[in-house]
Symmetry: D2
Subunit: 326 residues, 4 copies
């Protein structure tokens, strides 16, 4: 039985709590949140005790810490939990600053403690199946990742988000690394503000295309937009010598209508809580499993550092208008 | 807060318990099962108390009873719970015997207590959407219901099942009634044992086609098989003057492969626990809502009686080789 | 080089002429039509000579006769062409009267001349592929044929059509026979006039469901409507122990749109000239090939007689409300 | 009646001849081919006369010239035909050399004669429908063009092809220009030889990704491979503020099988003659129409020059590893 402290009782914190409660191998013992009423509400649901984040992390009877607090606290709580000798699950990104992220990675390396990063998309059943089936392709040659949000976050969020590459595309950069058999060594980016001029005013872009290349020449294309009228557009294509694998968007229902003007089908899932509902559950279970069984984390702190480095390189390429070597 | 007694702690009982626990408007107070260890295990998970079925039903602090015990006990527990003045959710079928089912219906009529029958498919999101969209068709003219199980139950089960029409097609007969704007008045059936000769030895069929007609001439076709190599085949088509609506089978993932021999896609959901996972959850919530808010049950005891009558008429048609008037 | 006389220069006659002109193994020598201007126009396009039907059939320099004239002339021209020793391609049906159709069959039997009947759907690439793949199913158990026209023909046509079963469903009855490994031995029909009351006034139905059974218990369902708002709905499903085969409707284009209300796709092909364009071409080529190479016709006069017998039995079942043995 | 000379009686020449013969508004009068036996064979089929290319172009009784001879003759025959005052349909590309292509464009400009370039994909029904429906998107923001051949041409062909950008991607560059509301102003390319090392030896690449940007920031991605195991992969996605349009690959049949391992569907069309069969026909009809009716050509010599300029810029970007301004 893994005793867990949950730091952060907001939307994602609650979702994690829900999945932990269904997992017979663990128990939420402490909940902490800067907004105490959040912590109190979640404690009531879970039977956990409300304490400060510091207490939750250092508590003797706790084995693992889930960090689901705001991004700018990830680094601080990660160091605390590592110092306290706990297993850690931390929401992505580790930190918006690459050097601070690297410090966490170094700290994890020194302590050799389990540290799993919340790249939830790796646990999407369709994406997992695509990855499992990669051997069907023989040699992999081209990857296409389409990733569009239904609508942009508030500009107030964007201002502190680290920008599209670090905040949004970082998921796709991680998926690219996860699928490619070798690290990307070159990156090129175009990007513009086409959706909302206020995003440009905030110094960011909302529409981007990024090309990655690996040493042996494998090509990977990422297509991002902060807004898709039709919902949360999350697709992958992997192409190789023997064929192509595609993971398409699931729809809300399978019901279609055909009338005199053609066919109509249902909407795709609206956003990440619906689309990645299974992925979030499978991810937390994977974390608990890996700690309980001492197996390696599915997504490591190193994955976080490398995705962040690619995001920074994409920004550099966008500014310079040229291919950047990583 | 609705206090609930759960009669039956087997597979379906556990599933219902799971959904009731997630519903903030109710609480499982008592659990009963002929196999006490089942009841004890489920009580441990839910915090309920293990008692006898009779105690669970008559308990003063209980508002509603969920009957998820074997079919041949449905009638007895229904009468007890009606006598005790409880709201009732009963798994389908009410009873394999039409006259006993009618007695329950009469009893419900006398007491005017809430009684909901577990025709879970009415809560499938794709089927619900199809029903919602029926007005798009204008006048409805033809309905097609395909319903195949992945594999037949043991012959020992079939012997006491009431036969394919009452055990399996009863769901489809209910869906037909749910979709049609008027009651079926004529029925015709063909059926044979094509899958497993032991089913014939047990006096049953495993493959059937049934045609229903309503007074105004609307036609409905039901296609059943006890075995489908590709999984749980559950589809509806509704056709009318302005077009056609189709609810197709969902697949496990959206991932496809295309190679030199064409395309391959994922399997459809394997069986009812996967396919109707959402439907079971929505169904229990609908029951709790209807009792709490005093609104009518989505599927009444009368629906159960009428579906059973159609199932008996189908058998009569099969035996006589002619259209039977209901 | 096969020299051909074409009897009938209407819509279907012109279509056949077009395909014959592209076939290097044959040549249209004579064209005949009761409306001479039709014959003159088609002769101009094909380089053929306009003559009377009788002359076209008896001409010494002609090897084969294509009968694409009105249904009530098929029988007469068939006998003439058999007497003249010609190979014959005749549009379906042979005759609306079963006894007259049998006389043609007898005549064909006596002369042993090539006689192919125009059941074009057997040449649809998707249906052909479904038939080729039937072995994938292992034992075949259930067949479903959906066949709906976009809109009913004029009532003046319906009055002389022989009725829905002989005029429209005869194609589906032929497809059923083509797919089933043994002859249907029992048939049941329901039918009504739901589309246009004038069709009822003309003594016909426009909406029907027919169930066929073979000796070993294989079930086949045919669903017909004279009107489908969404176009020409022509689908087959074949189900067996190892899975299911489906041939769906092709669409005009593959283009789809997804917006805030879901997805929209293109219409299906509007009617038989579009949907079965390939089938008509492949059918005529098959006829020319079979005559040139002395191989058996793909669809024989016997196929026509048997489909007609099923159509009559369907009518008998509809009238009697019971299963009819063939 | 448009009198036509056809220069080139190879595979594409024959295809064009076939479509011209079905068009009642034109007639092939002369055929020329460097391999006289090709010309003789096609003349026999069409009733045309075999002459030299020069005679065919200058013949007094000829209104229009179809140039379907090898690429390195396009320029020469174009100038001759312009001098002779003929309307011209020329296969793509005009010329592999940009300056020579521009000379043709200048010559066309001086003579003001009809000149249509064979960018057949603009006439694909699915692509045409996508273009027609672009207004559904509101503001267009991102375009994705996937274009893969089933297998690479012989290396001997590649050596004289002008390279992947001019030989293969030129079609996609044209489609990009056709769909975008303004000219691309920047281009970036990555490319490698991943399919066949001999292509690298011949100085070419076989796998490429190219990003285009327009002045207002619209992004367009082109993905190419010289080999796709699953056939001719030709797809477009157009994304904008109100949704997404997709034109997918048509399949050979609509027949699918579902068994215990999931679903299998048919192959996509194998290569351009199958996939673009309709497009080739519609293209020639459009040419004949435009000459007969004096309407502008659908694809002009200027389109050819601009696509060629983009192809050259893609090569420049590939070599320099940076965004190139056009």
């Amino acid at each position: 039985m893994l005793n867990i402290s949950l730091i952060g009782a907001g939307r994602i914190g609650k979702l994690h709590a829900h999945h932990l409660m269904e997992n017979a191998d663990c128990k939420i013992v402490y909940v902490a949140d800067a907004f105490e009423e959040n912590a109190i509400a979640l404690a009531a649901d879970t039977g956990a005790k409300v304490v400060s984040a510091e207490e939750a992390i250092s508590a003797k009877d706790v084995d693992a810490v889930i960090i689901a607090s705001p991004t700018d606290t990830h680094s601080h709580y990660s160091h605390l939990a590592l110092d306290a000798g706990k297993a850690i699950f931390c929401e992505k990104p580790i930190d918006l600053d690459l050097s601070r992220a690297k410090k966490i990675a170094d700290h994890v390396g020194e302590t050799n403690l389990p540290y799993m990063l919340g790249f939830n998309r790796r646990f999407d059943p369709s994406f997992m199946r695509l990855k499992e089936q990669l051997p069907l392709l023989g040699k992999l040659e081209q990857v296409l990742i389409v990733s569009r949000d239904p609508s942009p976050p508030p500009v107030s969020y964007i201002e502190h988000s680290g920008g599209l590459f670090k905040d949004m595309m970082i998921h796709d950069l991680d998926i690219a690394r996860w699928l490619l058999p070798e690290e990307p060594t070159e990156i090129f980016a175009v990007g513009d503000c086409l959706v909302d001029p206020e995003i440009a005013t905030a110094g960011d872009i909302d529409t981007a295309m990024v090309t990655l290349k690996t040493k042996s020449g494998i090509q990977c294309q990422i297509i991002n937009s902060r807004r898709a009228a039709y919902g949360y557009d999350q697709r992958i294509e992997a192409f190789g010598e023997a064929g192509i694998l595609k993971a398409d968007n699931p729809t809300e229902t399978t019901t279609t209508f055909m009338g005199k003007d053609g066919a109509t089908g249902d909407k795709i899932m609206h956003f990440f809580l619906e689309r990645y509902a299974d992925a979030y559950r499978l991810q937390l279970n994977a974390f608990v499993d890996s700690v309980v069984n001492g197996s390696p984390a599915a997504t490591t702190v190193d994955d976080g550092v490398k995705a962040l480095r690619l995001a920074e390189a994409a920004k550099e390429s966008l500014d310079a208008g040229k291919l950047v070597t990583i």
